[in-house]
C-alpha cells in the first residue's frame, strides 16, 4: 500500500532511512533491513546523501522490494538529467516501488567527488512536476507511456528556517502541494518547542509532515551538528544528557525514542528515523519508543 493511503487511514507512519553501501556488497544492508521488516511502513533509500558516492537509491530499493520491504525511492536533481530521471522513475515503478521522494541533493563540492559536473537539469519543483506528468501517462516530451507509474510523492522541507527563509519555504510547500506532493520530510528535529512553531505554519490537513528523528551517536556529534548545521538546534540539556550517561549509546537511543513519542503526541503523520550507519540499532529505537 502506498504511503498516501496509509497516511489517509490515519496510521502513524514510521519510516527508516537506509543508506546503500559504498560498494557492491549489499549483505548487511539487506540483513539490517530485515530486522525491521513489518515494523516500519517503508525504508527511505537516500540517493548519495551529502554527495558521497554510494550505490544508487534505485539499486537499494530494488533489493528491499525483492525482500518484500516497501521502499521510498529518492530522485535527485543533482546527478541526472530529465532523460535519466524519467527512465529511473519508470524503472522504479516496474520494480514495485510505490513511494518516491524528490530532493535537490547537496552540492557536489561537499562530497567525495568534487571534480564531477553537477547536472541540475530540473530543479526540485520541476522534478516533482515530472513525477506528476509521468503519473498522468505521459513523458516530458508529451509522448504517451506504455504503462503509467503511480507513486505516493514526497519531498523535503527545512523545518529550521526562520523569518524570510521560512516564508520562502512555505511558498515552496504551496508549489509542492499544487504538484501533488503527499508528504514532506523535515531535516532532523531535536528542539520540539521550536519545531512546533514551524508546524503551526503548515496546514497538516493538506500535507503530511514527517520530521526526521536523527539517532545521535555521541555528545561530540551532537555538538558538531548544533554548531555547524544550519537550521538544526540541539538543546544543551540533550548534549549534557549524553555526556553524563554511563551508557551513551543507550542514552542516544532513549533520546531518539522520546522525540518520536513527542512527535506522535503532536498528532503529526509520522517520523523518519535516521540512524546514519547504525541501521542495526533501529529495532532498539523502535523498542524504546514502544512501536
Amino acid at each position: 500500500m502506498p504511503l498516501k493511503e496509509k497516511i489517509a487511514a490515519g496510521k502513524f507512519i514510521i519510516l527508516g532511512e537506509f543508506e546503500p553501501p559504498k560498494g557492491a556488497d549489499f549483505d548487511s544492508f539487506i540483513t539490517d533491513a530485515n530486522l525491521v521488516k513489518g515494523r516500519v511502513e517503508a525504508l527511505v533509500v537516500p540517493e548519495m546523501a551529502n554527495a558521497v558516492l554510494k550505490a544508487s537509491s534505485l539499486g537499494g530499493c530494488a533489493c528491499l522490494e525483492r525482500e518484500g520491504i516497501p521502499s521510498v525511492f529518492q530522485v535527485c536533481c543533482r546527478d541526472r538529467n530529465r532523460l535519466a530521471l524519467q527512465a529511473d522513475i519508470l524503472s522504479a515503478a516496474a520494480l514495485g516501488v510505490q513511494n518516491i521522494m524528490a530532493v535537490n541533493g547537496v552540492e557536489t563540492r561537499f562530497g567525495d567527488h568534487p571534480q564531477t559536473r553537477t547536472v541540475n537539469d530540473l530543479d526540485l519543483i520541476e522534478l516533482i512536476e515530472t513525477v506528476q506528468t509521468l503519473s498522468q501517462g505521459k513523458d516530458l516530451a508529451g509522448v504517451e507511456l506504455k504503462g503509467t507509474p503511480g507513486f505516493s510523492v514526497g519531498s523535503t522541507i527545512d523545518a529550521g528556517a526562520a523569518g524570510n527563509l521560512l516564508d520562502i519555504e512555505m511558498e515552496r510547500l504551496e508549489k509542492m502541494l499544487e504538484n501533488g506532493v503527499d508528504y514532506v520530510i523535515t531535516n532532523p528535529v531535536f528542539d520540539l518547542r521550536r519545531f512546533e512553531q514551524f508546524v503551526k505554519r503548515v496546514d497538516t490537513s493538506k500535507i503530511a509532515v514527517l520530521p526526521t528523528v536523527l539517532l545521535l551517536k555521541s555528545a561530540g556529534m551532537a555538538r558538531y551538528i548544533d554548531r555547524n548545521m544550519r537550521g538544526i538546534t540541539i538543546p544543551p540539556d540533550t548534549i549534557r544528557r549524553i555526556q553524563k550517561a554511563p551508557d551513551k549509546v543507550q542514552e542516544c537511543i532513549r533520546i531518539a525514542a522520546e522525540t518520536i513519542k513527542q512527535v506522535k503526541k503532536m498528532g503529526l503523520a509520522g517520523v523518519l528515523i535516521s540512524t546514519v550507519g547504525w541501521e542495526s540499532k533501529l529495532p532498539s529505537v523502535l523498542n524504546e519508543a514502544q512501536l
Partner: protein, 222 residues
C-alpha cells in the same frame, strides 16, 4: 568575445511596456563586434520602440547611450547623474553587463536587450561560432589548440565517438567533428603521439559545476 543575439522586439516591448521613460544602453565591446548591442543596434531598437509606442498613442521618452563597457565600474558610473531621469533601463550588453548595471543601480529596473549566447569568434560577417566554455582548466596545449569542451558535442577527451562520419558530427552534417580537426592538426604539427596518450578524467570543479566562480589576484589588487 562574448557573442550575443538581439532579442525579439516583442519580448523587449513586453519588458518595457509599463514604463514611460526608457534608457537604452549599448556596450562598445563584444556586443558591438557581434552586432547585437552596440550604438547602431541601440538606435535601431530605439526607432522600433518609438514606432511601437507612437502606434499605441502613448508618449514615451526613449533615450540612447552607449558605454565603453558595462562590465567595469568606471564606465557604468557615467550614468550616475542621469539614470534617475528614467524609470527603466534596457541594457544591450551581455548578461554580465545587465547584472553589473542592476547591482550598481539597485532601485532601477534593468532589462536585457540581448540573449547572451557564448564565447566565440567571427567566422565571417554575420556568422559567429563558439570556441570556449570557460571551463577554468585549459587543455588546448594537449589538443592542438582545438577545444573538445566547446567544439565536441559530447565533450569527449579521448578521440571521436562512433557518430563521427567523414569528418562531420552526428548532430549536424554542417558541424565539423572537433576530433577530426584535432587529429588533422596534430598530424600537421607532427604530434600524433600526443593524441594517442590517454587524458586523465577531467576535473570539472573549475567549471560552473563548482558554483559561481571568482578570480582573485592579490598582486594587482589596490
Amino acid at each position: 568575445m562574448i557573442v550575443a543575439k538581439r532579442k525579439p522586439i516583442e519580448e523587449i516591448i513586453e519588458e518595457v511596456q509599463a514604463y514611460d521613460k526608457i534608457l537604452l544602453v549599448g556596450c562598445n565591446e563584444c556586443v558591438t563586434v557581434c552586432e547585437a548591442g552596440g550604438k547602431k543596434e541601440v538606435a535601431v531598437l530605439a526607432s522600433a520602440l518609438r514606432m511601437h509606442f507612437m502606434n499605441q498613442g502613448k508618449e514615451v521618452k526613449i533615450d540612447e547611450i552607449t558605454l565603453e563597457r558595462q562590465c567595469d565600474h568606471e564606465y557604468l558610473e557615467e550614468l550616475r547623474n542621469q539614470i534617475d531621469q528614467y524609470d527603466v533601463v534596457v541594457s544591450l550588453a551581455c548578461g554580465v553587463g545587465v547584472q553589473f548595471m542592476a547591482e550598481k543601480y539597485m532601485n532601477m529596473p534593468v532589462m536585457p536587450g540581448v540573449d547572451t549566447c557564448f564565447m566565440g569568434v567571427t567566422e565571417e560577417r554575420g556568422v559567429w561560432s563558439e570556441r570556449c566554455q570557460g571551463c577554468g582548466t585549459c587543455m588546448l596545449a594537449k589538443t592542438g589548440g582545438i577545444c573538445p569542451v566547446s567544439r565536441c558535442a559530447k565533450r569527449l577527451f579521448n578521440g571521436p565517438c562512433g557518430g563521427s562520419t567523414n569528418g562531420h558530427c552526428e548532430i549536424d552534417k554542417n558541424v565539423i567533428c572537433a576530433w577530426q580537426l584535432i587529429i588533422d592538426r596534430m598530424k600537421n604539427l607532427d604530434k600524433l603521439e600526443d593524441y594517442e596518450a590517454l587524458v586523465p578524467i577531467k576535473d570539472w570543479s573549475t567549471e560552473r559545476a563548482g558554483g559561481p566562480r571568482k578570480v582573485v589576484r592579490e598582486d594587482v589588487m589596490q
